[in-house]
Amino acid sequence: MVTEYGIKFTVNLINNHFGNLVAKVCENLLRRGPLNLQLIVRYTELTPQQVKNSLLILIQHNCVQAFSYEQDGGLEDGPKSNTQYMALFNNILHRMRFSKFLEIISREFDDKCKELLEGLLQHGRLTLKQMVERAKDMAERAKSRKIEGICEDLVQESLVKLLTARYVERCPASEPVLAARDKEETPAKKRGPKSARTAEESQTLEQRVLAAAAPMGAQRFSAITNNESSVSRETSTDDSPGMRVGAKRKYDALELHIEPAAEEEEVVLWRANFEEFIRCLRHKACIENVRERLDDGAATVLRAMLEATRSFENKVKTEKSVPLSLNNIFEEVMKSEEGRGMTLDRVRASLVQLGCSPSARGTDESYKIDLKKIIELAQNDEVESIVLKRYGRDAYRMFRLLSKNGCLVETDKIANTTFVEKKDAPKILYKLWKDEYLHMEKLVVAGARQSQFLLWKVNKPCLWKHVLDEMFHAALNLSQRVAYEREKEKEFLNLPVDKQIMSQEERLNRLKSVRIVLESSLLKLGDAFMLFHDFEESSLLKLDDAIMLSHDL
């Protein structure tokens, strides 16, 4: 779901991180869909060099994926017009979650792993050699001199750990080739909030490109490279990726910056695997939601189940957890500290609380949990709390009734069921409808006396999209306010001392509190985005692992 304010917000993110030129290129790609170099130059009115550099930065940071179409014959005017660049909305959005990703790593692994991931997040993509150099730099700065060999070993060890846990992956192919048959439907597709359907179509294109670019299943998380020694000969520095390549042959100037070395030997680039982080955060969100709605016991059981089956589920947004037998669940529950006090009966009761009834598989009863349902409940909670705050208690009740029913209900019936005064009900419903929270239909009954009824319902797909757009809008507002507060502060500091109303200390304290409030709200909103955006869409991953889903433990 890419909405108008979604684009504005992500462009703002890019603007804050990489400046306005990169943001301009990015915005055009987000709004118009995949474009080739000439078109980007035309639309952005930047020089080709500026566009190239911007694209290099975006590719380096995994925000843009290049691809091309299979050529039919010599009718095209050369390969240079054939490379398409596609902005990856999700990956740009992930940039606001880096702190969360790091938190996950620092909880599960040691500092070395955290440093490694930090490097990857900061630089987008790194070779092993670059990671080693970075680690050395860090060690030197920390003044704890270590022997180089050990440093390299340590980095490699951390990398293997993160690869095994799938938090790091091999970078995708720089320019996968798509079969030509889809060529017509893709160029310069408009992607806007108004054309929900086309946005969906281009998502399938996005999926196809990503699938084509992704390394083969086993290779993706494999630390073994054909020639690890190539690392020593590779010299690129990450901070200026554009500089060296800019001067390269024109038509493939937008290949990755390590291209020169690639001619001689294969160099493997690594990056953070956002999918795994999102999956992890999704599980966490489910567990926390269950804890809030039910109790600690249910949360413990759910966590144990998800942990036990982690290696078996490979879709980011699995709808149901992998089936587990009661004994297996119990065994896993016992592993955690809070689970040790639970009896088998308690575990079974929690499973029932979680809404899963045993399905007989063979001789053992096995359980699976409907994660999609949990996510749905969390989404409902979020929207309902907006309705409550914005429209009041009566509206909240009416909205919940319609949301639960899921079908059209007549005004008077709503008023009766929710105990709302008959004359107030239409007013409240109208307000909700005007703000796009409800869908309304008129029903005219021709009888002895013609009468008109108004029927209302909650149209979830539409509403969710609307709410998500409002959230993006709110997030954009928060980040702009942060910028504004900073600016104001600068102005204040430039004033002569006698004109300053508050003392410096007071001002700084105020700014600090303001930023804490704004930034923590932004983080919380980020979680809500995930709920409506990242946890929702269908998975982008390959299906070969899905076979494992049916694996019976």
């Binding site: 809030e292 009740r397 069921t417 005064e421 002895a448 507002n477 702009q480 704004l518 709200s521």
Partner: protein, 239 residues
């Protein structure tokens, strides 16, 4: 309301009179018979005029006199509070007119409803889990009300409590708290609010000004309403 007998009834003057001994004028008699014929459904003044073909001032005058003779009374129809409805004194208005137990004089009796709601929550809270019948039974035994509630009425209250997110529906599994309730029966339990003083959790969006802003659709980065000029923001960030 016109679907009853129609004009034929009106032309006939009723000879029998179990009606009061008070003497009535011809017009009053006509109107009274019409009103009485509607029984507990009452009738709207406009409909009377249409059915009797009497001029406005005659109807108004006759109604007044019938009222003073205590033969008819005015009732509020909750479907249309603005329209004057009359009913013969010997009838009590039907629930369709009054709105039933939950209405008092044509208005939703919120005080009564809220009291009953609180009472139900208390019962469910004390019993941890309760079935509808359990709640009804407890209410009956408590004698806190001088009205006898029907299952349907309590069900309506319980349903609205579910919509309020005060309680939630669960199915009995026959274990623990559900021990006394047959497996599969629908019961109610208080929602877990994480000790937040009984208030539901406020979502990420609802906790910032933009989430509840009535003007969000007019707010743009450089517009008249913008995050820089926003009064709600200023209030929120006033430290």
């Amino acid at each position: 309301m016109s679907r009853l007998q129609g004009p034929s009834l009106l032309k006939r003057k009723r000879p029998d009179s179990n009606s009061p001994s008070v003497s009535l004028t011809e017009h009053e008699r006509l109107l009274y018979d019409l009103i009485q014929s509607k029984q507990d459904m009452a009738i709207w003044t406009r409909d009377m005029k249409r059915e009797t073909n009497l001029p406005d001032n005659v109807v108004t005058k006759s109604l007044k006199s019938l009222q003073t003779k205590k033969l008819i009374k005015e009732v509020v129809n909750i479907q249309n509070k603005g329209r004057k409805h009359y009913i013969a004194t010997e009838f009590e208005p039907s629930t369709e007119i009054t709105g039933g137990t939950w209405y008092a004089e044509g208005n939703l009796d919120t005080e009564f409803i809220n009291f009953l709601k609180k009472h139900c929550v208390k019962i469910i809270y004390e019993q941890k889990v309760a079935t509808l019948e359990g709640v009804l039974d407890t209410i009956r035994r408590s004698r806190a009300f001088n009205i006898e509630f029907t299952t349907q009425q309590v069900e309506e209250i319980v349903n609205v409590l579910v919509l309020d997110n005060e309680i939630m529906e669960v199915k009995s599994n026959g274990i623990g708290e559900f021990g006394s309730i047959p497996v599969g029966r629908v019961c109610y339990t208080c929602t877990n609010k994480g000790g937040n003083k009984g208030e539901p959790k406020i979502g990420a969006m609802a906790s910032i000004p933009c989430g509840v802003c009535p003007r969000i659709s007019l707010c743009t980065p450089d517009g008249i309403i913008s995050p820089k000029t926003c009064v709600y923001f200023s209030k929120w960030l006033d430290f």
